[in-house]
């Protein structure tokens, strides 16, 4: 494939949006209240919209007769480059909000850097997405505080979610070797540079939410290299069902 490094780099950004968007859209009609249901599906829509922009660009870069749908639906599990965090299941509302918050904080920092990319298309998508993701971050931060500083039960549940999901945060800042060239060219973002501001921001919100910051030194990784958790296969089965059953179908 032509432009392979750039395409892989785009996957590493777009797959996060695609998979988290898919997770959130599972909640359509199942949110704990009408407002939160609508909010989470709205965020799903933003993320899937962003994914489309990335994939339309990547499809063009392949120089082959590929479409955004091929990239979204017809890759195998090992070819998805999303981080493990976003594929984690919708255990309960506190879990969903924690997953969202831990990702939004990263997503916003990433886009703020990506908007300066020397690649015009990536820069344009980032500039557009920042506006949407700022709302996501505000929403998830507010809910972290409301749940953390809420009832005994909400506090316990969201603290448990933080403890569980914390182990997936370090992977957000891993650069892959194949991304080096893209980063040196100023097209991609050096993720390791975002780490300090990320933890600073996250800790600030968690402290406000009266939550304890986990001290674990053990972190899970693998998603970026295509080694996913057991949840990913089920998610993809759902996501890919229509294209696999009716190849080349269109809406």
């Amino acid at each position: 494939m032509k432009n392979d490094n750039l395409i892989q780099y785009i996957f590493s950004i777009a797959d996060n949006a695609l998979i988290l968007g898919q997770r959130l859209s599972e909640l359509c009609g199942h949110g704990p209240s009408l407002e939160t249901d609508i909010a989470m599906t709205n965020m799903a829509l933003d993320l899937l919209g962003q994914t489309r922009s990335y994939f339309q660009y990547a499809a063009k870069l392949t120089g082959e007769d590929k479409t955004e749908d091929d990239l979204a639906y017809l890759r195998t599990e090992r070819q998805y480059r999303n981080v493990l965090l976003v594929e984690q299941p919708n255990v309960h509302f506190g879990y969903i909000i924690t997953r969202q918050f831990l990702f939004d904080a990263f997503h916003l920092l990433l886009l703020q850097k990506l908007q300066n990319s020397t690649d015009e298309t990536l820069s344009a998508i980032a500039k557009k997405s920042i506006k949407e993701v700022s709302y996501h971050f505000r929403f998830s931060s507010d809910w972290m505080k409301r749940l953390g500083d809420g009832t005994e039960e909400s506090h316990a549940k969201v603290q448990e979610a933080v403890n569980n999901l914390w182990t997936y945060t370090d992977e957000l800042f891993h650069n892959l070797d194949s991304d080096n060239e893209i980063i040196t060219q100023g097209v991609g973002v050096d993720l390791s540079e975002l780490k300090d501001s990320y933890y600073e921001k996250v800790k600030e919100v968690l402290t406000d939410a009266t939550l304890v910051i986990p001290e674990t030194k053990y972190f899970q990784k693998g998603g970026k290299k295509g080694i996913h958790t057991e949840h990913m296969g089920y998610l993809l089965a759902d996501l890919q069902y229509m294209q696999r059953t009716y190849p080349n179908m269109k809406w």
Partner: protein
């Protein structure tokens, strides 16, 4: 930005574009919404560029189809392209558009600073579209579509949509 935007629009095409409305806010024309970025006749074809309000806005595909249809009725062949940059902002909604929104029952976007204060619940400034009171509160940052937040009036108790500021 608005001035620069207008320069790319052939005035002879404006009347047609003013008759195409947002499918989800049927009182707001695409021109008043500020999503039309470019409109020129090249050869015998009309070339239009529109920019999405939100990335995943499902209305964009419908708008593109509606534009093609509107020109087809005038026996003109049109082609619509989606562009992302510069990103759309609520500043591009015209004054006429803002009035149309309010009349339709959607509170028009405030300036960025005021918008933030309103959404964070720091200030009661969003005016109820039913009774005009500013004794209102936000129910949800996300309303019936991505571009709106849901508010409720504490005086008349009615809920209403607020078009969020996007900068």
């Amino acid at each position: 930005m608005t001035i620069k935007l207008k320069q790319h629009i052939d005035p002879s095409l404006t009347p047609v574009l003013e008759e195409v409305y947002d499918p989800e806010i049927p009182v707001l024309s695409l021109m008043d919404m500020g999503v039309v970025r470019y409109a020129q006749i090249i050869g015998d074809k009309v070339h239009i560029k529109i920019t999405p309000t939100y990335s995943g806005c499902p209305a964009m595909d419908v708008m593109a189809e509606d534009i093609v249809k509107a020109f087809a009725e005038k026996n003109m062949d049109a082609e619509v392209e989606l562009v992302l940059s510069p990103a759309w902002t609520t500043d591009w909604i015209t004054e006429r558009g803002k009035k149309a929104l309010e009349k339709y029952g959607i509170a028009a976007p405030l300036e960025e600073k005021l918008d933030k204060a309103a959404l964070l619940g720091n200030e009661k400034i969003v005016r109820c579209t039913h009774c005009g009171s500013t004794n209102t509160k936000m129910i949800s940052q996300f309303g019936s579509t991505a571009c709106k937040a849901l508010f409720q009036c504490d005086d008349c108790q009615e809920p209403f949509d607020y078009f969020k500021c996007l900068k």
